[in-house]
């Protein structure tokens, strides 16, 4: 592949989330990553970040009362979304306590993590730029990396998008186990669990790394078509019906970039 394609567009690294976005909705990738029209974090992303913040406080200090962790998470959410006009803001804020409480009940059993938001970097064959990521928590005592996902429903399995993210983390950590903890804001009526944890297999890791490589190579070939981001944007059509464009600000920016 043209090894300078990324360089010519100022891209010195990739990430699983960037490659997931390219695979799922290339038009949004172009708008955000190539044209620099970054959108503010969605209310859903903000709640995930706030919950993770509160849970981390509780993990790193096992004696910290859960209510204190909740309070700090709610304040973090308020700070992150201070300028958001999203009507879901108050609903999401109310549920933060449940997510933090449930996640701490599960993850405090893992002990105290020895790394948080630790940067990892891997290389994929023939991809000229590294793939970087930031793990949620590493529990070296158990040889585990754990990533927390806030959700309303338990997924039946680790999604491909999450699997690719986990494959990067796991690949950077030898044969550490890679787990995803899916937390709901409250137990279900029939299923009383509030958190379920899935672990990736070695085959999962290999499969997702292979997929990441193919996706990155595809992106490299696309970028090699032109040095002009606007010209590249003219080659792709967005799907505004997709949930990727559900934020009004995203659709407005998309109309400006793609002309409809």
């Amino acid at each position: 592949m043209n090894t300078r394609a990324f360089e010519r567009h100022g891209i010195d690294h990739l990430s699983a989330s960037s490659l997931n976005l390219w695979a799922a909705e290339p038009a949004l990738w172009i708008m955000e990553r190539l044209l620099g029209r970054r959108l503010p974090a969605s209310i859903i992303a903000a709640r995930g970040k706030a919950v993770e913040f509160g849970v981390h406080l509780g993990l790193s200090n096992p004696r910290l009362p859960v209510e204190d962790c909740i309070d700090r998470a709610e304040r973090e959410f308020a700070r992150e979304t201070a300028l958001s006009g999203d009507p879901r803001r108050e609903d999401e804020r109310k549920k933060i306590a449940g997510w933090v409480r449930g996640a701490l009940a599960e993850l405090r059993q893992y002990g105290v993590p020895d790394a948080y938001q630790h940067r990892v970097e891997i290389r994929l064959d023939d991809v000229p730029v590294p793939i970087v990521g930031f793990i949620d928590w590493r529990f070296s005592e158990h040889g585990l990396i754990v990533d927390l996902k806030t959700t309303e429903r338990f997924p039946s399995q680790i999604s491909d998008a999450h699997g690719r993210q986990g494959a990067v983390y796991a690949s950077a950590h030898g044969n550490f186990g890679m787990r995803f903890a899916y937390a709901k804001p409250a137990p279900g009526k029939t299923d009383k669990r509030q958190v379920t944890v899935y672990e990736m297999s070695g085959d999962d890791v290999r499969r997702h790394l292979a997929a990441l490589r193919v996706i990155a190579l595809s992106l490299g070939r696309f970028l090699a078509v032109s040095n002009d981001p606007q010209e590249l944007a003219g080659l792709i059509v967005p799907d505004f019906d997709s949930f990727w464009w559900s934020e009004p600000a995203a659709r407005a920016a998309g109309r400006e970039v793609f002309g409809f």
């Binding site: 005592e141 040889g143 950590h173 550490f176």
Partner: protein, 211 residues
């Protein structure tokens, strides 16, 4: 990008076990087999691959690797037999990292049992991130229709940090991976894994979107 045609002029270092003679060999300086004592070595079982192998006297082996350990590639021809390929490392016995591959039924059985032990032990906290050290401590004579062959006794004796000479990578090239004969199994629901301390499809993407 190089063209993968023609002769490379190099042969990958290897270690092999001759089940007929119960002897271990590495590639000698003259390019031929050089016998070595029963070795102790690091074995990268995390990255072991299985598949269909055709070993022919005086010819380079041909192989079609399974896409994953639980999905078997289509057998290219009845002459191909089930086998494995894995990287091993020992400066003392092998002179570095070497490929260990075989379609011997007795050696494969030994490796299968070794892998089961690896799976059991690799989950222990103290073994995470490490590679098993395997010792060949002897052999058992196995009588079958081909006469007497030997099954090496392979044991995980300890776990060690992964050396730089043994990268955490697949021992095979992507181009060697075959297609499965059967359709891929449908995704199954994952199972919850308990915390270590215990000792013991979205219709509305927004609802299953996690951050």
């Amino acid at each position: 990008m190089p063209l993968h045609i023609g002769g490379s002029g190099t042969i990958k270092p290897y270690v092999k076990y001759n089940a007929k003679s119960d002897k271990w060999f590495v590639r000698g300086a003259d390019g031929g087999d050089q016998e070595i004592p029963r070795p102790t070595f690091l074995l990268d079982l995390k990255n072991i691959r299985t598949g269909w192998f055709l070993f022919r006297e005086g010819q380079a082996p041909d192989r079609v690797i399974d896409p994953t350990l639980d999905r078997i590639a289509q057998q290219p021809d009845p002459a191909y037999k089930r086998g494995f390929v894995v990287m091993a490392f020992s400066q003392k016995f092998f002179g570095g990292a070497v490929e260990f591959s075989s379609a011997s039924i007795h050696l494969s059985n030994a490796i299968r049992d070794l892998y089961a032990a690896f799976e059991e032990q690799s989950g222990k906290a103290e073994n995470r991130g490490k590679v098993p050290v395997v010792a060949c401590t002897g052999s058992d004579a196995m009588k079958d229709k081909f006469g007497t062959n030997y099954r090496p006794r392979l044991e995980i004796v300890k776990w060690a940090d992964r050396p730089a000479e043994l990268p955490d990578a697949s021992p095979v090239d992507e181009s060697e991976i075959g297609r499965t004969g059967a359709p891929a199994p449908s995704p199954q629901a994952a199972a919850h894994v308990p915390p270590p301390a215990a000792k013991a499809a979205a219709s509305d993407p927004a609802l299953e979107t996690e951050f």
